[in-house]
Amino acid sequence: MSQTDTTLPRAQLARSARAEARARAIYRFRQSWLSVIGLAIAVVLVAVALLAPWILPYPDDVTGAVNPAVAFQPPSAAHWFGTNSVGQDILTLVIYGSRISLLSGLTVIGLALIIGGALGVIAGWVGGWIDEVIMRITDLLLTIPSLILAMAVAAALGTGIWNMIIAITITWWPTYARLVRAEVAAKKQEQFVTASRVLGVGPMRLIGRHVLPNIVTPVVVKASLDVGFAILLVASLGFVGIGVKPPTPEWGTMLAEARNYMPQYWWTAIFPGTAIFLAVLAFNLLGDGLRDVLDPRTRR
C-alpha cells in the first residue's frame, strides 16, 4: 500500500483511505468478467423496465389489442421478435413483461428481507423462548411449497399480481429469518461485540453499528441470487396459470401459451424463454460477484 502523507488534513486522509478501499473493491469485481456480464444484463433489464412506456414498438398490444391479420408473423423488420396468435408484437410483450418480472421479483425479495430480517434479528439477539417461537413458525412455513401456497391464495383470493407477491413472500421470508438469525447469533458472541458492550454501548447501537454491518455480505448475496429465483417462480406461476392474468403480459404466461404452437411458431416461445433465462442468470452472476466484493476476508 502506498505511504499516506501524514501532513494531509484529516478529512482528506479519510477520503483517500475510503476511495482506495472502494477502488480495490471495484477492481476485484471487474476481475471476474462473469459478474460484470451479470451486472450489465441486470442494468439493461432494469433500464428496459423503467423505459418501457417510451420504447414499446406497439404500445396498444400490452392493453390487449388484437390484430388477427398479422398473427404468427415470423421475426422481421417490423416485428423483430415476430407476433403471436392474435397478432401482438412479441418484442413489445417481452419488454413490458420485464416490468412485471422485475417488479414482482424485487418486491418479493424486498418484503422477505424486511420481514425475515427483522424477525431474524430479534430471534438471534434476544434468544430464549422468543427465538424458539419465531424459529418454529419459520420451520412450519418452510414446509409449505411456494407453488402450493400460491395456488391456495389464488383459489381463495383470486389471481393477480399482488396476491401472487403475497403468497411468494409468505413462503420466502422464513429463509431470511433463518439466515439472519444464525448470523446475528454468531456475531453476538464475537469478541468485538463484547468489547463494545463492556464500553457501555447499548443494544440498539451494538446491533446497528456492529452486528448488522458484519452480516450484510451473506444477506446481500442471497438477496441478489434470490431475485433471480423469484423471477423464475413468478414465471412458473404464470406458466401454470395462477400468476399474472392476461392481457397483462408476463413471460411465464407467454411461454405457456406458446406451448400450443410449438415447434412451428418457435419465436413465440424462444424470446420470453430467453428473457427468463437472462434475468435469472444476471442476478445469479451478480450475486457471485457481490460476494467477492463485499467479503471482508478478501479485503486485503
Binding site: 500500500m1 499516506t4 501524514t6 484529516r10 486522509l13 479519510a14 483511505a17 475510503r18 478501499a21 464475537e190 469478541q191 468485538f192 463484547t194 468489547a195 463494545s196 458492550r197 463492556v198 464500553l199 457501555g200 454501548v201 447499548g202 447501537r205 453499528r209 456492529h210 454491518p213 458484519n214 471482508p296 479485503r299 486485503r300
Partner: protein, 275 residues
C-alpha cells in the same frame, strides 16, 4: 486500609445445563469459592491452565455473567443489577483487553470510529464534546505508540502488536481505574510481547491504573505483577506476593505450572528485551 478497588467474595459460577442439537449438556461448575482482593494501584496476576476458569472469572468481574454464589464488589459496590445509568458509570471505571487482538476489533470499523465509540457513550461524563473526539482519539493513539496516519485504517491493515495497541487505546479512552488484561500478549509474536508489556507498564505508572493480569506465562506475571493467585479447576489454590509464590510454591500444581514453562531460548524470550 481503605476499601479495595476490587473485592471478590466466595464467588462461584455454574454454567447452566443447555439443550443442544445432540442432547443436553450437563451443568458445569467453572468457579468455586473465589476470594480475591485487589488494592488500588496494584498489579494482581492470575495464572492457571487452559480451562481453569480465568475468562469466566473476568466475565463475572465485568458483570457480563451473574455469579451463582458470592459476589463481586467494585469499589464497594456490586457489579450487577445496576440499571442503565449505574451500568454506564461502572463501564467507565473498569475495562478489559482481550487475548485475541483481531477478534476484539470490529473488522468493518475504522480505528477512529472504534475508539471514538467510547466517547460517544461517555463523552458527556468525560467532558469531551463531539467536536473534540478526533483530537482525543489521536491523543490516545499517540499514547500507545500509534499515529495520525492510522486514524482511518481498518483493523486488517495492522499487525497483531498494533492491533493490541488499538485495543489498549480503546480501553483507556474512558479513563478506567481497573484494567483487566486477559492474556494480552499470548496471541502475539514473542518479539512484540515485550513491547506491549513495556507499554502496559509505562501506562500503569503514568495513569495510576490497577491491573488484573491474566497469563499462562509465569515469566510475564513475575515481571509485571506485585501479587499473584494460582487457579486450578475453578479454585484458587495459592495466592500471595509474586516473589514468595515463585520462590517457594507451596502447591504441587504451581510447581507443575512453573515446570511447564518451556526452557526459554534466551534469544527469543520476551523478558530478555525487558532489560
Amino acid at each position: 486500609m481503605s476499601t479495595p478497588l476490587l473485592k471478590i467474595e466466595g464467588l462461584g459460577h455454574v454454567y447452566g445445563a443447555r439443550r443442544g442439537l445432540f442432547g443436553t449438556s450437563p451443568a458445569f461448575r467453572a468457579l468455586t469459592g473465589i476470594d480475591i482482593s485487589i488494592a488500588r494501584g496494584e498489579s494482581f496476576g492470575l495464572v492457571g491452565e487452559s480451562g481453569s476458569g480465568k475468562t469466566t472469572l473476568t466475565r463475572n468481574i465485568l458483570g457480563l455473567e451473574r455469579p451463582s454464589e458470592g459476589h463481586v464488589l467494585f469499589d464497594g459496590h456490586p457489579v450487577i443489577d445496576l440499571g442503565r445509568g449505574g451500568e454506564r458509570r461502572l463501564r467507565r471505571r473498569m475495562q478489559i483487553v482481550f487475548q485475541d487482538p483481531q477478534a476484539s476489533l470490529d473488522p468493518r470499523m475504522t480505528i477512529h470510529d472504534t475508539i471514538a465509540e467510547a466517547l460517544v457513550v461517555h463523552g458527556p461524563d468525560l467532558g469531551i464534546a463531539r467536536s473534540g473526539y478526533t483530537r482525543r482519539v489521536l491523543d490516545l493513539l499517540e499514547a500507545v505508540g500509534l499515529g495520525r496516519e492510522h486514524l482511518y485504517r481498518h483493523p486488517h491493515e495492522f499487525s497483531g502488536g498494533q492491533r493490541q495497541r488499538i485495543n489498549i487505546a480503546r480501553a483507556l479512552a474512558v479513563e478506567p481505574e481497573l484494567l483487566i488484561l486477559d492474556e494480552p500478549t499470548s496471541a502475539l509474536d514473542v518479539s512484540v510481547q515485550a513491547d506491549i508489556l513495556n507499554l502496559l507498564q509505562r501506562l500503569q505508572k503514568e495513569l495510576g491504573l490497577t491491573y488484573f493480569f491474566i497469563s499462562h506465562d509465569l515469566g510475564v506475571i513475575r515481571y509485571t505483577c506485585d501479587r499473584v493467585a494460582v487457579i486450578e479447576r475453578g479454585r484458587i489454590v495459592e495466592q500471595g506476593p509474586v516473589a514468595e509464590i515463585f520462590d517457594t510454591p507451596s502447591q504441587e500444581y504451581t510447581r507443575k505450572l512453573m515446570d511447564a514453562i518451556p526452557d526459554p531460548d534466551p534469544d527469543l524470550s520476551p523478558l530478555r528485551r525487558l532489560g
